[in-house]
Structure formats: C-alpha cells, structure tokens
C-alpha cells in the first residue's frame, strides 16, 4: 500500500510538474511586482531613510498620516480626485450612450466604421502626446485659442497655464475627448447584441424611435451600464495620472484644481523626496480603494452575479 501510494504521488507530480513550471514565471512576477510592494506598506509607518533601508529606518507610528491629514493637501487631493472622477463618470456615461445609440442608427457600414475610427482615435495616444495637442491650442504665445480666436475678437490673450478658473473645464474636455470612444464602443457592442425582434414588434405597435430607445434600448443595456458604473466607482480613488500630470504641465499655480492623489504622491516621492507623506497618501489611496472595490463588488454580485469581478 505504502509503495503504491508513493508511486501514485510520484506519477501525479510528474503529470503536474510541467504546469507548475509554466506558472512559475507568472508567480515570480506577481510576487515581485504586486506582493512585495504590499509588504512595503510598512514604509508609511517609518521615517524612511534610503541608506538604512526599510527595516533599518525608525518607526514613525501614525506620524506620517497625522502630518498628511493635518495639512490642507489631504482634503484638496481627495476632493479633486472624487469630484473629477464623479463628473467624468456621469458625463462620460451619458455621452457614450448617446453616441452609441446614434451610431446604431447609422446604417451605412462604411460611414459607421469611419465615425468609430475617428472618435476612437484619441484613445490610442498617450497623455504625453495629448499634452502637445492641448498645448497647440492653449499655449500663451503660439496657441490657436489666443491667436486665432481671442485676438480677432479683440480680447486679451489668456495665460491658460496660470489661470485656475479654466482648468476644471479644460480637464473635463480633454478627458471626454480622449475616453469617449472607449465608452461608445462598449455600449455599442451591448446595443448591437439586442435582438432585432423587439424593435420590429415595437414598430408594428407604432412606437416612435424615441420610445423604442427609451423602452427597449436603454432597459436592455442597463446591466452593462450598472457594471461599468460600479467598476468605475470601485476605482474612484484612483485618477488618471497622465491627464492630471501631463496636461496641466505639473504647474504649481494650478495645483488647487488639478492635483489629485496620484499627482500628489508622485510629486512628494520624486520631486520632494518626502517618503513619509507620499507613502501615507498612497496607503490611504490603496486602503480606501480596497474598501470601495470590495463593497462595490458585493453590490454587483447582488445585482448581476455574472458581472461580478469575483
């Protein structure tokens, strides 16, 4: 019995060994890229000194968090992150669904493909390049808006990169411009999968186009809308670093309206070498983000089990 048991085990190992070997690079990578940094959370509770390493550095207790929340930065970056993400979510969803519904009305295949192709284009470029495109419009000296629009109207040129009041609008326009194609494609794929039978029946009943959209299209894409919304809410503490860092050119005068948690963490870490504050802010983001994802996923599970992440 003993021997056959051992042999069975050996056979089993031999059979499964190749799979473990195949999984190994992935496991090693997850360990280095994802799990070691989780242990690095301890940095937030230390006065980190790179020369002494994490474990040689002195404990700081909750000092880093106290400093962070005592400054007005914590409120400002949280407010900016939440408000921008909330605005982007609402505006993005409404516009993306509108465009997807309209795209579905365009019957010509070539025309529809062309529109999709063009509207999706900004999604494919990086924020670095996008910041050059934005610069061509709003640069104080050579920008199109100052020279081509304000000057002929007899208005004074605006120093866009130094005027806070415009930035909520500028960032919203940039974000919409870059991400609307993505949302449109997702909702369009959901609309296309709706059976034509519903519409044919509705037409026979004499339903107007508007009624068809309100009573057939919108209710049937509701699950997609809910899933997308909840997934976005789960990540509402994470901002699009490129948008808030590259487009305003990391300009200090704009910080009160452009700085989100990610930008704050980056600047504190790389430009000010303030490891205490940056790690405190980054742990704050991870922990709240974790709670949000867990709770939104629980909600998603309740609403539509198939779409839950886990």
């Amino acid at each position: 019995m003993e021997i056959t048991g051992a042999r069975k085990k050996a056979v089993k190992w031999k059979r499964f060994m190749p799979f473990y070997i195949m999984a190994l690079p992935g496991v090693v990578y997850l360990f280095c890229n994802n799990y070691l940094p989780m242990a690095g959370i301890v940095i937030a509770f230390k006065h980190l000194d790179f020369r002494k390493g994490i474990f040689g550095s002195e404990w700081a207790g909750l000092d880093n968090f106290k400093f962070l929340f005592a400054s007005k930065n914590a409120f400002e970056i949280t407010r900016n992150t939440l408000l921008y993400n909330g605005l982007f979510l609402v505006l993005g969803t409404v516009l993306a669904i509108t465009l997807a519904v309209l795209m579905n009305e365009v019957q010509g295949k070539a025309a529809s493909r062309l529109y999709q192709c063009l509207i999706l284009l900004p999604f494919l470029i990086s924020w670095v390049i996008a910041s050059y495109l934005v610069n061509a419009f709003i640069a104080a000296d050579t920008g199109l808006i100052n020279n081509g629009i304000l000057k002929p109207l007899g208005q004074k040129p605006v120093s866009w990169y130094n005027s806070k009041q415009y930035w909520p609008a500028i960032l919203t326009i940039c974000n919409t411009w870059k991400s609307i194609g993505y949302g449109m494609i997702i909702y369009l794929s959901s609309i296309i999968s709706i059976s034509q039978d519903y519409y044919e029946a509705a037409i026979i009943d004499g339903a107007s186009k508007f009624k068809q959209i309100r009573l057939i299209t919108l209710p049937l894409i509701k699950p997609t809308v809910i899933t997308m919304t909840i997934l976005t809410v789960g990540r509402i503490f994470y901002s699009d670093f490129g948008l808030f860092y590259q487009v305003p050119k990391n300009s200090g005068t704009l910080y009160s309206v452009t700085r989100t948690i990610d930008v704050y963490v980056y600047n504190a870490l790389m430009n000010n070498s303030d490891y205490g504050m940056s790690s405190a802010a980054s742990i704050y983001q991870s922990l709240v983000g974790f709670v949000l994802i867990i709770s939104t996923n629980a909600l998603l599970r309740k609403l539509s089990k198939d779409n839950a992440l886990f």
Partner: protein
Amino acid sequence: MPVKSFENVTWKAAAHIILCAFALAAVMPFVLLIAASFTDNNTALAQGFSFLPKKLSLDAYVYIVREWRTIGRAYFMTILVTVSGTAISLIVTCMFAYALSQGNLPGRNLLTFLCVFPMLFNGGLVASYYVWSSVFQIKNTLWALIIPNLLMNTFNVILIKNYFQNSISPSILEAARIDGISEFGLFVRIVMPLSVPLVATIGLMGALAYWNDWTNGLYYLTERDGGQFYTIQLVLNSINENINFLANNSELMSRANIQNLPSTTMRMAIAVIGILPILAAYPFFQQYFVKGITLGGVKE
C-alpha cells in the same frame, strides 16, 4: 407610413450630423498638430498656430533628420521595448493562464487567488518604487521600461484562462496526450495556435500600452544616467520637463539653454513622429482595437 419614414430620415440625419461633429472634434487636434509642425517657426511665434498656416516650412523636419541620432535612437528604443515587452508579456501571461486552466491542478485555487487579489489591493506607488529601485536595482536599465506593471496584466490572465477552458475542445487535447505529446508541446503546438484570435487582440492592446508608456521611464530613468534608453514618449516628456523647469527658473533662461531646446514647431514635429506609426497602422487594426476594448470592458 410617410410620417414614419420622415421620422426615420430625421433620426438618421441627426445621427449623421452629431456623429460628424464628434468625429471632427476628435480629429481636429491632430490636424492642428500636423499643421503646426509644418509652420514656419517665426510665423508661429508671430501669429500662432492655425489650421492653415500663412507660411509653410520643413525646418522642423530638417531638424529631426539632423538630430536623427537622438530621435532615431528613441525610435529604436520604442520599437525594442514594444516588441520585446509584448512578446515576453504574452509568453508569461499565456503560460500562467494555461496552468490555471487545468481544472484538476492541485493548488489551482491558490494560484487563482494570487492572480485576482492584486486587482483589489496594491501596495501603492511608493512601495513599488522602493521595491523596483532599491531591492531589484532596476533604475537606469532597459528592464525598467519592460518589467514594472506592464509585464503581466492579471485581468488578461483570467480572460485567456477562460478562453482556454471554454473554447478549446478537451477531446483535441486528450487525443494529443494519447499520442504522447508533452505538455509543453501541447501548449506550443496546439493550444496557442487555436487561441490566435484572442492572443493577437490582447497582444495588440499590450503593444499599444508599451508604445505609449512614459510612466516607467518617469519613475526609473534619469536623464543623465538613463537617457540612452529614452523612448519617443520619454523624449517628449523630457522636453516638457526642461521647458517647465526653465519657465519656473527664469534666471537660467540664458541663450545657451534656450538654444539647446527644440523650437515650438520642432516639438510639434517630434510629436507627429511619435504618433505617425499608430496613425498609419490604425486603419488596418481598427477591428482588433474595437475587439480588445469590448474584451476588457465587460466580461462575457
């Protein structure tokens, strides 16, 4: 009936008008960028950029040809990082997904958990930065552009695992196993060829992510010691940084410093060079991009 068709026509016209407007708005900045790069520099400074520049000039592109040592190298680095990053990433991801797709593999649940948990929780930028720069000493090496964050997307692992489980018939695998093929042989010669549509789509999205990445370079390369690894994105980013630095420290605005910076039209030309390959390849890959987005957007 005429009422009905009138309604249809109105809807269609409205759809065309609105979509046209959005499509134009999406493309306009690109047109301005290209027009700007062909504008004579003095005209740009005097009259600003416009869609129809008063005086055209090829100076910006002459500059690029002259500076090809820097820009060509950045181009080469972009291609090198994109190709090798995407290839390594696909190999690691698919092998891991294949192991996960084995229903009876002991420890499979643990592996799946290892893969899903990072989607929920992460150590944050500071801890990642510390691990990659101090523990693995990745700063100012080529690996800095390939490894952190981009190498294996756990969501893609799950997508590919599901595909392996649902779309490859177990009887094909069994037949091959009876013929005595090794598990590696099975993976390379049968599983992968059967998964080409999905793997190609995911590879394309991955290549786009590598092509567009500038954050790894921002964190792990310094201009002095890692400048030779700069990709096009990083060259553009560092031009931005230098201009911001001079703008904030006007006492350094000496002629020498300004002359070292490319002029405003030259910068636009470098940006054009950076997006040109994407613009050129895009029409041929559009459907794959669309597929990639719907794959990643909502699980099926």
